[in-house]
Symmetry: C2
């Protein structure tokens, strides 16, 4: 569709009219409410609704009440047809043919520069699940911990492994993360832990997807309907303290090594905006069980990059370039698996894919892999080097899809800076 | 204190005036609001506040607004001094010396029979963490899975192992639980899973504790202040599908084997009501690290029982009698550990202790242990037997403390019935 907005959108902007991701923003004058990103602006959907511009969107009964809220949970619960009709109406409003462009008085009320806004978590996240769906990542970790032969656990190729994460410490891009302290083993042979700030603080490059409409307890979401239940995607940095995680995780999984912080990008990119970039995923063998059998291609060709600015440096450097299309278990298989036993999902729940590494070095989604468990230093400008993160280091995850029609659908920033541990021990 | 209420409280009632547990209830006429249990009645704190009877409780600014809510989260956030002054004021109101007893018109408004009420989840649970703090349970499971020598994992005696659970499927006592279906291995030697309703559906006898006031991201809750942050306790049945759990849990922990349902008792018993039953916990060796060093005794002598009514039977039978006092890691050590890396706890968060087994057979908190992984059948009346739960079976967990002063502080019921899996496969 050769949509074009009256708002100027630079060619490499993440937010052309073909994107229209949803988020929650506030300004000095405006309390948190729902908006969409367009170019370097935010379209305030509360003001747009107040002006009656979303009155006849099918299924959207009370737009002002829905978009005046400080989370997207209510809008998410309305279902994909309403997300779709709302997004089309917004594209209409922003299109160069719409007379809104001449109504400078109204424009002054409905448009806010992103530079003048503060972004908030887009939803109240009731539950957060982190999957482990990249074969490359799981294999790399397996090789490092268990050697080449049994790199993948026996269950890995049969089910999308996942665990429940901590919701309370999910923060929006731009929030600083305190280095955690905790128990860790000093040497492999003496199983007595000591306590100190983590010395192996890592990142995990992931994509998060939000449940829009859920399922009742005891009921399943069938894989062929899964896309109807998924509102959209964000970038996720699942910060990980490897030393704390290694000592604690047997047998019940990661806990303090993960729950000190998880960063997400603020703009939820809808599945409709990403439809153009759907590709066939990796072939799966052995064949998955019936409830996991894909009926439509469900992998997404999303370019992913890890950028790091060490404390001593003045600029970010790209340390890794990966792509979501390599992911073995799709987001629809993840949702089908999550509910096959009757676990009830709710609007606003977030699931993350697990670290998304690519097949070659240079495409790994964690410092654990990039440095191969701390063996190879990563070089930065003027002699700066890193194995794991130091205090003052900043990380930004970037994700985007380049359309053949010349625009870019992007996720904005997913950024965080490491603050020193507030405790000496 | 020789408190006595004008409301008749049978001797073995769980809810004497010395208890006053908080919960959320509704009736045909009343929308969900906060109440406390007394004898077989509920004192409606919204009506009590409307009548101005809680007006001069220190720190409780707007009782009507606080107790008119459908969750206890706001009341929990007010802090222990306010919980304490409110509970004392309520005991005052209910005491035989109070003229409320002669005001039958007001009594008609503030008292509701429990039999005419429906109980709700007492709080919006933002995050749920399940610990593994019973040495007896962890040892039994270790022996069954890894043999006597390395029954306990190397980390067990150094830190309270825990994992993030699923909040959405926590339900209040009396809610039916659907048998989950999922992947499981048919035989140990052929690592190819098949899909079916779980054939090893189990219970876990646990105590849950609610965070009242939390901590900021990056900050810790010091163990010597931990009791100030804990609102109170409930009983928890962490239903577990052992076959699904066994195939999925390596390396990231239990997931679908647990998240199909978790049942809690509706009345939160305050730490003040349990203070009388505090005892010294088990000696801990090796000595815990500094942040885990108890400053005051923090174990609780709470009698715990598992009652099961097989589908074919007409009455419940006691299958196990345990006690919370055996628990190795205390609730204060659990909270100190949970926050030592800066994970932020919030009002309404729930943590569970992990299955609470005792030292002898007959005191185990799971069918896995009672039947020793399905080897020994449990006999019920007229020839009925069980290894794991069948469809139609009902489970009730019971907990109480018998005071030397002749009353009983109890937790009420924590009950659930197993419904057939809604899917044939
Ligand atoms: Ca992760
Ligand atoms: Ca448990
Ligand atoms: Mg995290
Ligand atoms: Mg459970
Ligand atoms: Ni049903």
């Amino acid at each position: 569709m050769s949509l074009k907005s009256f708002i100027s959108v630079p060619k490499d902007s993440h937010f052309p009219i073909q994107n229209i991701p949803f988020g929650v923003f506030s300004t000095a004058e405006k309390s948190p409410r729902v908006g969409v990103a367009i170019g370097d602006q935010i379209l305030d959907l509360y003001e747009v609704s107040s002006a009656g511009l979303l009155d006849n969107v099918k299924g959207l009964k009370d737009p002002k009440a829905v978009f005046g809220q400080s989370t997207l949970n209510t809008f998410m619960s309305l279902g994909r047809p309403v997300w779709r009709s709302t997004r089309s109406a917004i594209q209409e409003l922003l299109s160069e043919k719409n007379q809104l462009k001449d109504n400078s008085q109204l424009l002054g009320r409905v448009l806010v520069p992103q530079s003048k806004s503060r972004m908030h978590l887009p939803a109240k996240i009731g539950d957060y699940t982190d999957f482990y769906s990249s074969r490359e990542h799981a294999t790399n970790v397996g090789i490092m911990f268990r050697g080449k032969d049994n790199a993948l656990q026996p269950n890995w190729l049969h089910l999308p492994v996942g665990y429940h994460g901590r919701s309370s410490s999910i923060v929006v891009s731009g929030t600083d993360i305190h280095r955690p302290a905790g128990q860790r083993l000093l040497s492999k042979d003496k199983p007595v832990p000591s306590f100190a700030p983590s010395a192996r603080l890592d990142i995990e490059l992931e994509v998060g997807w939000f449940v829009g409409t859920g399922n009742e307890p005891g009921q399943r979401i069938d894989i062929k309907n899964a896309k109807e239940h998924i509102f959209g995607m964000v970038l996720v940095n699942d910060w990980s303290a490897r030393d704390i995680q290694a000592w604690e995780y047997v047998p019940l999984g990661p806990f303090l090594g993960k729950n000190f912080g998880t960063t997400i990008s603020p703009w939820i990119v809808t599945l409709d905006a990403l439809e153009e970039f759907v590709v066939q995923g990796p072939t799966q063998s052995p064949e998955p069980l019936a409830y996991l059998k894909e009926t439509v291609p469900s992998a997404y060709d999303v370019k992913l990059e890890v950028h790091i600015k060490p404390a001593e440096s003045t600029k970010f450097q790209t340390v890794s370039e990966s792509n979501m299309k390599y992911m073995y278990w799709s987001i629809t298989q993840q949702l089908a698996h999550h509910t096959v036993g009757g676990c009830n999902m709710q609007p606003g729940d977030m699931c993350a894919t697990g670290t998304l590494s690519g097949p070659e070095p240079g495409s790994y989604g964690s410092l654990l892999e990039i440095t191969w468990s701390g063996a190879n230093k990563i070089p930065f400008d003027n002699g700066v080097e890193r194995l794991f993160l130091q205090d003052g280091d900043e990380v930004n995850l970037v994700g985007y899809c380049d359309s053949a029609s010349g625009y870019r659908i992007g996720f904005g920033n997913c950024q965080g800076k490491i603050l020193p541990c507030p405790y000496s021990a």
